[in-house]
Assembly symmetry: D3
Homo-oligomer: 230 residues x 6
Amino acid sequence: MHLRVVNPNTTAAMTATIEECARAVIGPGTRLDAATSATGPASIESHYDEALSVPGLLAEIARGEREGVDGYVIACFGDPGLDAARELASGPVVGIAEGAMHAAALVGRGFSVVTTLDRTKGRARELAERYGAPCRGVHACDIPVLDLDPGALDRIVALGREALARDESDVIVLGCAGMADLAAKASARLGVPVVDGVAAATLLVQSLVTLGLRTSKHSEYAPPPAKAYK
Amino acid sequence: MHLRVVNPNTTAAMTATIEECARAVIGPGTRLDAATSATGPASIESHYDEALSVPGLLAEIARGEREGVDGYVIACFGDPGLDAARELASGPVVGIAEGAMHAAALVGRGFSVVTTLDRTKGRARELAERYGAPCRGVHACDIPVLDLDPGALDRIVALGREALARDESDVIVLGCAGMADLAAKASARLGVPVVDGVAAATLLVQSLVTLGLRTSKHSEYAPPPAKAYK
Amino acid sequence: MHLRVVNPNTTAAMTATIEECARAVIGPGTRLDAATSATGPASIESHYDEALSVPGLLAEIARGEREGVDGYVIACFGDPGLDAARELASGPVVGIAEGAMHAAALVGRGFSVVTTLDRTKGRARELAERYGAPCRGVHACDIPVLDLDPGALDRIVALGREALARDESDVIVLGCAGMADLAAKASARLGVPVVDGVAAATLLVQSLVTLGLRTSKHSEYAPPPAKAYK
Amino acid sequence: MHLRVVNPNTTAAMTATIEECARAVIGPGTRLDAATSATGPASIESHYDEALSVPGLLAEIARGEREGVDGYVIACFGDPGLDAARELASGPVVGIAEGAMHAAALVGRGFSVVTTLDRTKGRARELAERYGAPCRGVHACDIPVLDLDPGALDRIVALGREALARDESDVIVLGCAGMADLAAKASARLGVPVVDGVAAATLLVQSLVTLGLRTSKHSEYAPPPAKAYK
Amino acid sequence: MHLRVVNPNTTAAMTATIEECARAVIGPGTRLDAATSATGPASIESHYDEALSVPGLLAEIARGEREGVDGYVIACFGDPGLDAARELASGPVVGIAEGAMHAAALVGRGFSVVTTLDRTKGRARELAERYGAPCRGVHACDIPVLDLDPGALDRIVALGREALARDESDVIVLGCAGMADLAAKASARLGVPVVDGVAAATLLVQSLVTLGLRTSKHSEYAPPPAKAYK
Amino acid sequence: MHLRVVNPNTTAAMTATIEECARAVIGPGTRLDAATSATGPASIESHYDEALSVPGLLAEIARGEREGVDGYVIACFGDPGLDAARELASGPVVGIAEGAMHAAALVGRGFSVVTTLDRTKGRARELAERYGAPCRGVHACDIPVLDLDPGALDRIVALGREALARDESDVIVLGCAGMADLAAKASARLGVPVVDGVAAATLLVQSLVTLGLRTSKHSEYAPPPAKAYK
């Protein structure tokens, strides 16, 4: 089985962290690689960034199809281009917000999201709504994506603790691929499950491929009609 | 007041029809022009098309901002790039699905959408959900966007009649910018309001500008943070 | 085009303010007048007031039909008698809560309502639900309708500021026709769009008439069956 | 305990049937009388009728308060004036749609409503939504209110049978006070519970009074502020 | 008419209080008795307790059927085994959360629940969702079920007062059968309706039996198919 | 990693099939065994059966905890006892309806469930609601659980084909553990993903354990308070 994690921003250092977190959880029979978008923003912190990240992401999916990749993870918490990627891919595609929210729903009664900038909260809420996920609150730590580092842990833990109390939640979801390596430490300090979407989405895709479940091509996700592009 | 209707596909002939429909309804003090995306698909009939249409659309919004445009209409029924456009624009931005659904909600109890291809129904439902609109059904006439012509009217009317009965709706919304010039004729034949989103969205934007209402820059729609793009 | 704004309370001074706010935004080809209910309460601050205001309001709609009026605004934030008025009118009818909430939804991600008395909050929430509007909170300034004056601005601005923070909203909707003349000033001080429903509903009705969209007479809003009234 | 059923239309013959159905179910310690609105339409079959029925209904509630009535039933399936009546009354007030829907929810998994005219279906759906009731469909027998007679039973039973199958429901709610005397016969023929709202609401009010539960005067349903009425 | 209240925990002293509260409200023609589960937990404070209480509860329902009981109340605020009991019983079955929430919805605009332990709040929210009830908040007084005594009143009243303000509710629902005897006193101190589910559910069942409404046996609640049990 | 699939009915032959389906998908490092409830019904086809299956199921979970099992699957499509099992288990617990619905949501836009008896449809809908899953219809093949055999495939495929068309769905979920071995064949014939919950839930649990995600013990799912049981 060959999986690919696509980082839709253009920062290769971030792709490296993401790949490491994904690789840490896959099974022995799974081959995994990570790709960085060739075009688009250095980080995704607005609807504008997200929109501009999608063509590069889709190019990676198209390349993956030519190379026989069996399943994909979209490694940005806004799940950019998810529907379009599903049209291109024959195997499953899972976004990391989607993966994190599905996993969180299975280990608790309701979760809070800790994300980066205040302005991204609306997108997280919208995705929770779309996925039918028991999201009880979204909170911003006000650290830009590319400034996330081990030092961010304290702020994330403090915000998570506050969120558990205020939202009456029992699970924390990390709202950025750049936080992937902080989940275990945050969980140890908070005493509740803390979900990193990169690892969660990777195992969901691996599970779907193992189950023989590919994206349904019955109607909406059928391959897009061929046409002229300028 | 200077308004701009942006056709996010790259077919200039379609832009011409759209512009005509928009121009037919504006007030005497309003200057309106229409723009065609310089890049992207010839028509938008999939999530993939929609994703690839957005960068060209956003370039038109950015150009509009430099030119002092007061408000924008996004003239594709999938409302592609709406959130990103709102971040870029200081004035209001309305999508034609949004405009049509708002108008339809004001003149009836529940509407049915008549759209082009079956695969686009999911997006229409998703937008109705987002806008809180009383959409009771979405129906596809199975005519590709670029094949819509006066001859499509019969099929649209037949489908609309069926929809009114099956959905217990009392208004029809036309689900494609390419149907804009058919609304009046369809309404005359069906005996119910038939809403074209191009005209509806244009008047909504004109109204918002007149009211002095611009996109809120308070949080989510603030200008996107500057950063490096590849 | 001939539009009429009906003030369903019996205070003519309030009708004058409402008319002025409506008149300020209409197009050059639009004739607008305002009517005051001949029967009912001096102001509307309860379900009881609202119920008693409706017969007078409907009498004005009926008169308007005889005079060939093309569209109506119901100028009370409870949108009293809206469904019944739609049965009587052949043109469109829009309530000011409806108009304000539709406009607010187009320029932000979520709005807060600032209304008069605490007891009217339930009605505002109910209307937001009905219209599918992204209302995030309703707040009362505790000033009775007929005591609203320029001096109320400070209280409204303070409450609005609090609401933006607490509700994580980005637009303010003024919840009373008596606040119509305060919108621009409140917006200037708050730095976000502040929506007055009188002006918003007036332009929505004007837009619908221009679009040729009249209330659907297909089923629920058909003229009421003739019968004996005591 | 003194209860009053108010028929908000002005047809005394209908009040007599309603009173009989209510009287048939009350306990030995309950005194029940029925009142007919002094003003308004002969039957209620539109939003317009409903609006015009409310002042007469409220006059009866006000009279009831002066006479020390302990609780009220509003005997029209549109539950006209319910919120306003709750402001006036110190005891509980229940509408017959409300009563029927609450009772139906307790004896099955989902119900279908069989109502009179097609145009009243929207109101029934709206009330089901408001009451959080598991309504799976609303169906019109196309018999005007004042033409309901024992001969309507066949049509109602046929429609009920169809509704149970199509809606996958297991209970039928009769959608008009004028059908009150047909419930037992319809149930015998359909083999499922058939709920008449007049009897159901009467027993709900009797139960609330017995429980010492009166309308909360804490905020929204406090007595309406005194003011001038024209 | 013969009604039975089943206490699904195994604490007979609690059954006695419950029986007294139920008996206090029934009509003169109603015979009421109470049963205590022969197996299961001494009190119900977790999903685990609830699950283990159900077989004993269902045995009481089965016994009731053999004895010709006409209707049942399940006297635990988690409404354990409600669907299964409806399959067994030919008459109506109402849970006390269900009964309390239905009653509360009829006398106010929105209620708050005051329950025992924090961990039971999720179940209360879930039931409110199921019943479509206007629940605005659930609050725990942190007193275990078997420690509830007259001394709990102060804590419940304080929590109720806080809930009314924070939730903007106007009715309090007591979230445990063990609080049944505190409703009147709490209401007197809080000045709003306070609903005890034991009394409320008892009168709802009595009403349903009087109305001739039995659990629909049309599909989901038909008697369970006979089969081998180990 | 040690996983256990618990069949909550008492039919060991069914456990064998379930175990085989689960074993077919696990990773090389996973040890999996299956347990059959020692008490309860031979098959689960009603709320009554479900209720009686839970104590036996919970006994298996309790035994698993003593044996150090890392995660559990509840192998009945009603997901009986899920919340209680989560209280007992320190590792994750996933029901097969939950697992199937999560997996189905990831590979299509909306799914239809094909279940056994008509009377079980309500439970399936209720679970879809709880899990926020995009379920568009539930259909019964009218074959009792213990009569499911390879011959059921034709009926399931026919019903699935009908469901895809009627519900406008693009994925089929099999609504019974007894159908687990039919998924691949049904998918081959229907041309859409067909999800078996046994395999899906098994891989979800395996994934959660690999991710280090255990059931949150923060509040609702903390170990149940110790107490006396009769």
